[in-house]
């Protein structure tokens, strides 16, 4: 008997079939990975199990009994808990209040009693939380633990985690894995949605793979390997990109001179940052996040004014100009936070036109037809799985990123500023983005790539700069780069050296 048995689940959104006759089973006491590319339908399948979506067809059995789950309430009643990608916590309430929410019980709420109860539960499950803290004051990792505790507190026997590691720093991932191991020992079943093969192989007992809404198969960890899983995910085998040949060094496109930034607290977040990016090259900037990367991209995109230094695009000094001028001048941005550079409530077509609206205006009125045609063309060109009139927020992460790529790269910018362009994307989408960046380089654009992923930096860059505590500690041509060297530079063990 399985803890959960989903049979023949089909879910349509308009014409799109997000889940197509999917079967899924979860055994008691296992950690079961649900793997798949962006948009494969992982979230949709689990939202159906948790009652957030309604399946068009199919049925669900819990412990061998057929049940109808039409709302989270039913799911909770069937002892299913879910931690969604976007946390569902009320940020103005405390941890204890959030955990009490939805419980039946006394009319009044005694803060001390509920806080005590939460501490006890936290101790019992070995999940550290602060009961009296406001959610808004917690880190992402802490919020996630509150979510897990919330589910457990409702006596969940099945815990669904939707891409729990996407938002965590490595140390917090370790904490999470420990928690999950402990829960497995106590007999819980866990569904772990992910597209990171490493994590899946490290943690899970069995792995189910979704591809384009269909179940591609379920395998036991011991009987598979990463290559096979990757192949199941995308339906073909080859992966990994490589730069082709050495770029002939062209003229300087972007010149950054002694950029410095002092924040409100008087801390120097950037110190004398100087480098040049040439046409036809990718300059990678490696570094542990929080060492000045977001400040640097902020300055180069015009949202932050530096306190010292300047930067030129070709011969134009763009220091301190507005984002609009910067885009006009020929800088294309692929921002770190996808959601901040797109508008979820607008359509795909409108989002694509957004940064260049005045080109889609005739006589002061938006030219809808032109916007639509432009979108249709780019959707085909960039292989975006959406229609021009779809609301952007309904797209999967990979497709959102493609919208940004389409918007930015179709303008053929002279300089491309790509920060964390593949964060949260699956292998297929990552592959796609990487190829597009290489295309830019081959076209003759200058590309600045900021990433925490060393593999990405090493496979794409022509030169690699390392940033540490707001300083560029060195710039190496790719031939001289080794993982070890980068690693040491990234933690400040090797000092300044320039080429």
């Amino acid at each position: 008997m399985n803890a959960i048995q989903m049979t023949g689940i089909t879910k349509r959104f308009g014409d799109l079939v997000a889940n197509d006759n999917v079967d899924f089973e979860l055994k008691a006491g296992e950690i079961h990975a649900l793997l798949g590319e962006n948009g494969a339908g992982k979230t949709t399948l689990m939202r159906i199990l948790y009652g957030l979506y309604h399946a068009d067809e199919g049925d669900i059995q819990v412990n061998g009994r057929r049940v109808s789950i039409v709302s989270p309430k039913d799911a909770i009643h069937n002892r299913i808990g879910m931690v969604t990608q976007h946390f569902t916590l009320v940020s103005t309430l405390t941890v204890a209040e959030n955990l009490t929410l939805g419980e039946k019980g006394s009319i009044t709420i005694n803060k001390r009693t509920i806080e005590q109860k939460i501490s006890d539960a936290a101790e019992q499950y070995g999940i550290p939380v602060k009961p009296d803290a406001l959610i808004s004051s917690l880190s992402v990792g802490e919020r996630q633990r509150v979510e897990i505790l919330k589910a457990l507190n409702r006596n969940a026997k099945v815990l669904i985690l939707d891409e729990p590691t996407a938002v965590l720093v490595p140390q917090e991932v370790d904490v999470l894995f420990e928690v999950l191991e402990r829960l497995r020992k106590s007999g819980l079943s866990v569904v772990f949605i992910s597209h990171k093969l490493n994590e899946v192989m490290a943690l899970c007992d069995r792995i189910s793979v979704l591809r384009l809404g269909k179940m591609a198969g379920t395998v036991v960890k011991g009987e598979t390997n990463k290559t096979e899983l990757a192949c199941m995910m995308v339906g073909h085998e080859t992966f990994g990109v490589k730069r082709q040949g050495k770029a002939p060094r062209g003229k300087v496109i972007l010149r950054v001179e002694n950029l410095s930034l002092r924040d409100k607290k008087g801390l120097d977040t950037l110190r004398d940052v100087s480098f040049e990016v040439h046409t036809g090259e990718i300059l990678g900037i490696a570094g542990v996040s929080g060492n000045g990367q977001s400040e640097l991209t902020g300055i180069l995109s015009g949202t932050i004014k530096p306190t010292g230094g300047q930067f030129h695009l070709e011969d134009r000094n763009l220091t301190g100009t507005e984002p609009l001028q910067i885009t006009r001048a020929g800088i294309g941005r692929i921002a770190e936070d996808r959601h901040a550079s797109l508008v979820g409530e607008l359509t795909v077509a409108e989002n694509i036109a957004l940064e260049y609206l005045d080109e889609f205006v005739s006589h002061g009125v938006l030219d809808r037809k032109k916007i639509h045609q432009n979108a249709e063309k780019l959707i085909k060109e960039y292989d975006i799985k959406a229609r021009p009139e779809d609301r952007l927020r309904t797209l999967s992460g990979g497709n959102m990123q493609k919208v940004i790529l389409a918007r930015t790269l179709s303008r053929e910018p002279k300089f491309v500023l790509a920060s964390q362009p593949t964060r949260g994307l699956d292998v297929g989408a990552t592959d796609y983005v990487d190829h597009r960046l290489l295309d830019q380089r081959d076209r003759g654009a200058a590309v600045l790539l900021l990433s925490e992923d060393l593999d990405e930096i090493m496979s794409l860059s022509d030169r690699v700069a390392v940033i540490y505590e707001g300083q560029i500690v060195g710039i190496l041509p790719i031939e001289e780069v080794t993982r070890e060297k980068l690693g040491l530079m990234m933690c400040g063990s090797i000092g300044k050296q320039k080429t």
Partner: protein, 304 residues
Amino acid sequence: MENIFIVGLLAATLRVATPLIFGTLGELFSERSGVLNLGIEGIMFLGAFVGFTAAKLTGSLWLGLLMAIIAGVIAGLVMALLTVRLGVNQHVSGLGLTLLWTALSLFGFRMIFGEPSVMPSISTFPTISPFEGVPYLGTIFEQRLLTYIAFALIPLVGWIINRTRFGLNIRAVGENPEAADAAGLNVYRIRTQSQMIGGALMAVGGAFLSQAMLGAMSFGIISGRGWVCIALIIFANWKAIGVLWGSLLFGGFFALQLALQATGIKLPYELLMTLPYIVTILALTIAGRNVSVPSALLKPYQRE
């Protein structure tokens, strides 16, 4: 002489503040659950009409008040039907309902009383003086039971919102309905209940004007008090205790301009009447900066 002036001022302040407290507390329930109820002006008018008419016809003030409460609950229910169930724009629904309730009340008044040459009237709720005979206090606290209830409601509502499960639910659906839904709460039901409670309180505010202050019904009986409540809720920063300060401030300046009119000051009374509104606007511009508006206010919740 001066003492009498101030004592009279304070007594009038409490009186003027009473309907505002009811209205604003009603709006507090509504807005903390995520719904801006611009129907407040109309619901207060409806409360004034129903309270007065039922009292006149049955001869019982309390029965009149009960009918006003029922009318308010129904009005809240209608607002909830539009904004919570159907997800209609809250501004449009609220303004539309204000027009509807006002027109319906006037129509009802015509139907029942025709066009009398002498306006029908009732004897008002009696005053209660707990400090009878005590100088000053005796005069200040010569108020109707409803006024005492209004002030007692402020801590009670604060307690309900902050210390009860129901209040926690209201705060949750007003801040993050998705989270509340995921926690297994029925967002629609909680918002509807908040609308009903809110409507009842607003109607009592209106009934106070016709049944306790005027003893009659007139076209201008509410004259924008509902809108003042909308401003006061911002001034109060969506907290019950803030409702106290806001109502006292507005009530105080309203009473002051009344008193100034009575002293025969050489200023057009229209100008004096603007005083409390100007002060409210000024207070808003100062207090309005540090607002903790419920995050889900104005956003209809629809499960995907």
